[in-house]
Symmetry: C2
C-alpha cells in the first residue's frame, strides 16, 4: 500500500498540535489509571512492551506488523508463551469461515476493537481535534485508496481502518456542534455493533424475530409518548426523516384517494400540501417524487385544488421553532385535512416533562415524524414515522409479493412488516434505540435532553448582550438552536446597510474555514431568507458542557477578530 | 429484570440439542487451541477462572455479576491485582462521556465484543442451530422487553444483548439459505463496526470526507465493471434495491419531462413502464408512490400512453433468471425509452469472468441497480444505483437547501452528495463494501461468487433425477437459484391433477415449519403463478459447502417423508 505526502509520517502527525496521542494506545493509559496495575498488564498483553505498531512501520515493506501478545506481569515473571500474529502475511481468506480461522478472526477483531476504542477515547478528549481537515484532492492524492484486482493483507486493512478514522470528523466530540445529530452514545454504539453482527433484515418475523418485536414495542411506546390513546396506531422506522416525511405525504394522499395507487395522479384532482417556509426541504422533495410537484407545496388560496395535507414543523432545522400545533390541528380538523407533524428534530422533547408542552397538539396529528437519532443521540440512522390510523401503511404500500410474505406461515403474520414499507429489505435501526431506552430509562433521556436545553440557554444568555455578537431572532430559543452573527471589529460599528450586509455575509464562512483548518470545533452556518450567513448552534450531545460553550464563543472571537 | 418461562434456565438451554456451548465462552476454547497457552491466560484474564457469569446468575438479585479480571498465569503466580467490574451497580451514566468513564467503557465494550465473538463462532459452527424459534407470544411473554421510566443496569444491558442474539436468526450460518443476503463477512463486519463508531452522515464532504471519497471511488469502479467508458456517469448508495429502483423510475421520468418536478403528474401525459411479470415488486411499489400508479406498469400496447421506462431484470428474485438485455437495449434504443437494469441480485456476477456474460447488455442501460449486500456478501445494507448520465440525479432531486449545502464553502462542492439523494441524512453504507473489496480484491469476490454458482450446480445435479424431487423449471439455473418441489411418498405416485396440487401446496410450508422448529437449516418457499409452493434455494454465503447442500437435501427428506 503506497502512502504518500502528508501521510508519510503518521506517528509524527499524531503527536502534533491538537492531538495528544502517543505511540501507546490512549486507552492503555486510561486502563492503567483505572485498574491500578492490571491495565499495564492488559496493555502489555495486547501490545508486548506497550509499543503498538504505528502506520509508518508498515511503510517498510520488509518490516512485519507483528502483534506481540505476551504476558508481561510487572513483578513476577511467568511462563506464558508469546504469540505472534503477523497480519502482513494474512488475508481475508484466513478469517472465518476459513478452516481453523477462529484464532486469526479473534485476533483481527480484537485489533479492530483496539482501533475503535482509541478513536472513542480521542472523541471525548477535548485536546484532540474535531477534524483533521484536508481538501478532497489532498486526501485522494495522499493515499492509495484504489480497489485492485489483487487482495490486500489484513495488515493493510487494519492500517486503512486507522487512516480512515484519522481523517473522520469526530461527531461525538464535545465541541462538534455542526449538525442536529451529534454525540456518541456507548450503549447505542454497542447495540449498533450487535446489529451489524446479527446482519439481518426487518421484513419478516421469520428472519428478525426479536428486532421485529422490539420495533413493535418501541413504536407503541412512542405513540404513547405522543398521546394517542393506549398507544394505538401504526408506524415504521425508515432511513431518515426525509423518507418518514415522504411516507406521510404518501399515506395522506392514499387516505383521500385510494385509487391513486393503481391509477396514478392522472385519476385524481390536483393536490395542494401546506407547509411553512421554514419547514424541511424534504416535504418539497417528496412532493416532487410523488408526482404532486413542488408547485403543489405552497401557502396560497387553493381554488380548484384539493388541500389534502398540512405539514406542521415541531422544531425547524435552522431556528428550532415550533409551529402552533393546536391551531393547525383545529383547522385540519375543520376541513378534514391530513395533519402531519414533522417532529424529526423536536420529537425528543416529548421525553421531557419540562419541555414537552412545546409539542402540545402533536397528539392530534394524523402522522408524526420523530428522529431519535437527533435530539435523543441514537446512532445514525434511527427515524420513525408514527401513524394514528392502523392499516393505512399496509394498504397503501402492500404489493402482496407472496414470494416474500408467504400467507401460509406458521406464525401470526401481522408481525411481518415488510409490506408496510416502501423498501423491500429494511435495515435494523431499532435495537440501538431500544437498548438505549432500556439503559437510560425515559428519565435518562429526559435528563440528557434537559441538560442540552439548559446549555443552549446558557449560550443564549452569554452572547445576547456580548460585544460583537448579534442575535438573529428576538427572544429565547424554543429548542437548542441558537442563531447569531459574529461581527468582527471592522464592521461592528458600520451602519446597517447593504455594504455591511455584504461584508457580514462573508464572516461566518471565513471563520468556519479557519475553524476546520484548526480542527478545534465545528458549527454550522447558513443564510435564511433576507438574513445573510449566520451561525446556527445546536446542542444535542450529552458530552457538551458550559466549558465547551465558552470555548466556542472564544474560538469564534479568536478566529474572527481580524476579519 | 424479570425472566420467565423458557428463559428461566439459560445455561441449561445453551447446552441443549443443537447448541454446543458450555459455561466457558466458545472463543475461549478456540483461543486455547490457537494460541497454545496464551488463550487460557486471556480467558482467565477476562473471566477469572474460566467461568463466565451466565444469565441465570443474574436472576438472583443478591448475586452481583462481577467480572473477575485477574492475571491467572498457569504456572507461576504473579502479583497482578484483581479487578472487579460489577456491572450490576453500574449504569449508562457511568460510561463515557462520564468523568473517569474510560475504564468502565473499556470493560463494557470488551464484554460486548466477547458476546459478539461468541455469536460469530456459533454462526460458523454447524452443530449450532440456525434459529431457536419461538412464536411471537412466547418471545413477548418469556421475557421482560419493556421500556421503563427508570434506567436498567449495565448488567441488564449485557444480559439483554446475549438474549437478543440467542433468539436471532444466524444469517451467516452455512445452512441458512433463506434469503438472497446471507453470510457474515469478517472484514465487512469490522467495517460496519467502524462505520457505527464514526457515526456520521453522507450528505456532505464536510462531515464525512473519507466516506464521501470512497463512495466516489467505488461507484466509479462499479461503473467500470458495468462497462461504461472510463467509468463515467453518476450514482448513489441507497437504502436497498427497492429505493434504488425507485430512483431509476424517478430520474427516467424527469429526463423525459423535467417539468414534472414542479408541476407534478398533472402536467405530463400518462406514462407506461414495462417490466416482466417476474420482476421485483418494487417497480410497482415505486410506480404507486411516484403517482404513476400500478396500472402504469404493464406489458400492453400503449395507445395514448407514453412508454418511458423499461425495467429489465438481471437475476429475478425467485428463479434467478436474466432478461434478454441486448434485445431489450435494441428496442429501448430504437424507441428512445429509458432502460433500467435491476441487477440487485445478478449484479454480483459482473465480478466473475466466467459468469459476467449473463449481464451482457447492462452497459447499454441508462441505469443499473446493483446490491452488493446480496451476491457479494456485504453486510446489510449496501445497494447502489448507477446512472449513465451525469447530473440527472442532482437536477432531479436537488432542492437547494442552502442551510445544508452552503454554496460558499471552502472545498469543491461537487463532493457534497446530499442534494442528489431522496433522503436528507444518508447512512454510511460504503465503507464495508470498499474495505471488503480492498481486502479480497476483485479476484476474491470472483472466487467466492464462482464457488456459490458451482455449489448451486452441485445441488441441481444432485436433485434433478433424485427420487422425490421435481424441478420447477427445465434446464440449468442461470444464477444460484434452484427451485424444486419435494414430494413425500404419499403423493409421489399420484397423477398430476388438482388433488395432487392441493396436497403438494402444503408440503413446503409444513417442512419449513418443522425446519424452523428444529432450527437445523432454513430455506425459502413460495408459489409463483400457477405453480404451487416450491422451495427456492439460493446460495450467496461463502461459508456453505457441498456437505451443507447434502445436509439440506437429507433434512428435507427427513422432515417431509411422513407427510
Amino acid at each position: 500500500m503506497a502512502s504518500l505526502g502528508f501521510f508519510s509520517n503518521e506517528s509524527a502527525q499524531r503527536s502534533g498540535a491538537g492531538d495528544n496521542s502517543t505511540a501507546a494506545p490512549a486507552w492503555c493509559q486510561i486502563a492503567q489509571k483505572f485498574t491500578g496495575g492490571i491495565g499495564t498488564k492488559l496493555c502489555a498483553f495486547l501490545y508486548g512492551d506497550g509499543q503498538r505498531p504505528t502506520e509508518n512501520v508498515v511503510k517498510e515493506e520488509t518490516t512485519s506488523l507483528a502483534t506481540n501478545r505476551s504476558c508481561a506481569c510487572s513483578k513476577t515473571p511467568c511462563a506464558c508463551q508469546k504469540v505472534q500474529t503477523n497480519f502482513s502475511v494474512l488475508h481475508a481468506t484466513d478469517l472465518l469461515p476459513a478452516c481453523d480461522g477462529e484464532g486469526v478472526t479473534f485476533t483481527f477483531l480484537e485489533q479492530v476493537l483496539d482501533i475503535l476504542l482509541d478513536y472513542i477515547l480521542k472523541t471525548f478528549d477535548r485536546s484532540t481535534k474535531v477534524i483533521d481537515f484536508h481538501y478532497p484532492d489532498e486526501l485522494l492524492e495522499g493515499f492509495n485508496w484504489m480497489l485492485d484486482e489483487q487482495p490486500n493483507t489484513l495488515e493493510d486493512i487494519l492500517v486503512t481502518c486507522r487512516t480512515t478514522l484519522k481523517y473522520a470528523v469526530k461527531t461525538g466530540h464535545p465541541r462538534y456542534f455542526n449538525q442536529l445529530s451529534t454525540g456518541l452514545d456507548m450503549v447505542g454504539l454497542a447495540a449498533d455493533w450487535l446489529t451489524s453482527t446479527a446482519n439481518t433484515n426487518m421484513f419478516t418475523y421469520e428472519i428478525a424475530p426479536v428486532f421485529v418485536l422490539l420495533e413493535y414495542i418501541t413504536l407503541k411506546k412512542m405513540r404513547e409518548m405522543i398521546g394517542w390513546p393506549g398507544g394505538c396506531g401504526d408506524g415504521i422506522f425508515s432511513p431518515g426523516g426525509a423518507i418518514s416525511n415522504m411516507y406521510a405525504l404518501l399515506i395522506a394522499r392514499y387516505k383521500l384517494f385510494p385509487e391513486v395507487k393503481e391509477k396514478g395522479m392522472a385519476a385524481i384532482p390536483k393536490l395542494i400540501a401546506f407547509t411553512s417556509e421554514h419547514s424541511h426541504f424534504s416535504i418539497k422533495k417528496a412532493a416532487a417524487a410523488l408526482g404532486i410537484g413542488t408547485d403543489g407545496v405552497v401557502l396560497i388560496k387553493c381554488d380548484g385544488f384539493v388541500p389534502f395535507f398540512v405539514n406542521a414543523t415541531a422544531g425547524t432545522t435552522v431556528y428550532g421553532a415550533f409551529d402552533p400545533l393546536v391551531a393547525i390541528a383545529d383547522i385540519c380538523n375543520k376541513y378534514k385535512i391530513w395533519m402531519h407533524v414533522d417532529a424529526a428534530w423536536g420529537g425528543g422533547l416529548l421525553m421531557s416533562r419540562k419541555h414537552r408542552w412545546k409539542l402540545n397538539g402533536t397528539d392530534r396529528g394524523n402522522s408524526v415524524t420523530w428522529n431519535p437519532h437527533k435530539m435523543m443521540g441514537v446512532p445514525l440512522q434511527c427515524s420513525a414515522l408514527l401513524v394514528r390510523e392502523e392499516g393505512l401503511l399496509q394498504n397503501c404500500n402492500q404489493m402482496n409479493a407472496c414470494y416474500l410474505f408467504q400467507p401460509d406461515k406458521q406464525y401470526d403474520l401481522s408481525y411481518d412488516t415488510g409490506d408496510k414499507a416502501l423498501q423491500c429489505g429494511r435495515h435494523v435501526d431499532i435495537f440501538k434505540l431500544w437498548l438505549m431506552w432500556r439503559a437510560k430509562g425515559t428519565m435518562g433521556f429526559e435528563a440528557q435532553i434537559d441538560k442540552c436545553l439548559e446549555l443552549s440557554d446558557y449560550l443564549y444568555n452569554k452572547i445576547r448582550n456580548r460585544e460583537g455578537f448579534e442575535m438573529v431572532l428576538d427572544g429565547r430559543p424554543q429548542h437548542t438552536n441558537v442563531c447569531f452573527w459574529y461581527l468582527p471589529h471592522s464592521i461592528r460599528h458600520l451602519p446597517d446597510n447593504e455594504e455591511r450586509r455584504s461584508l457580514l455575509m462573508k464572516v461566518a464562512p471565513q471563520i468556519k474555514t479557519r475553524m476546520m483548518s484548526f480542527g478545534t470545533t465545528m458549527v454550522s452556518y447558513q443564510p435564511q431568507g433576507d438574513k445573510v450567513n449566520f451561525f446556527r448552534m445546536v446542542i444535542s450531545n450529552p458530552a457538551a458542557t458550559q466549558e465547551d460553550i465558552d470555548f466556542l464563543i472564544e474560538e469564534i472571537e479568536r478566529l474572527g477578530q481580524d476579519l
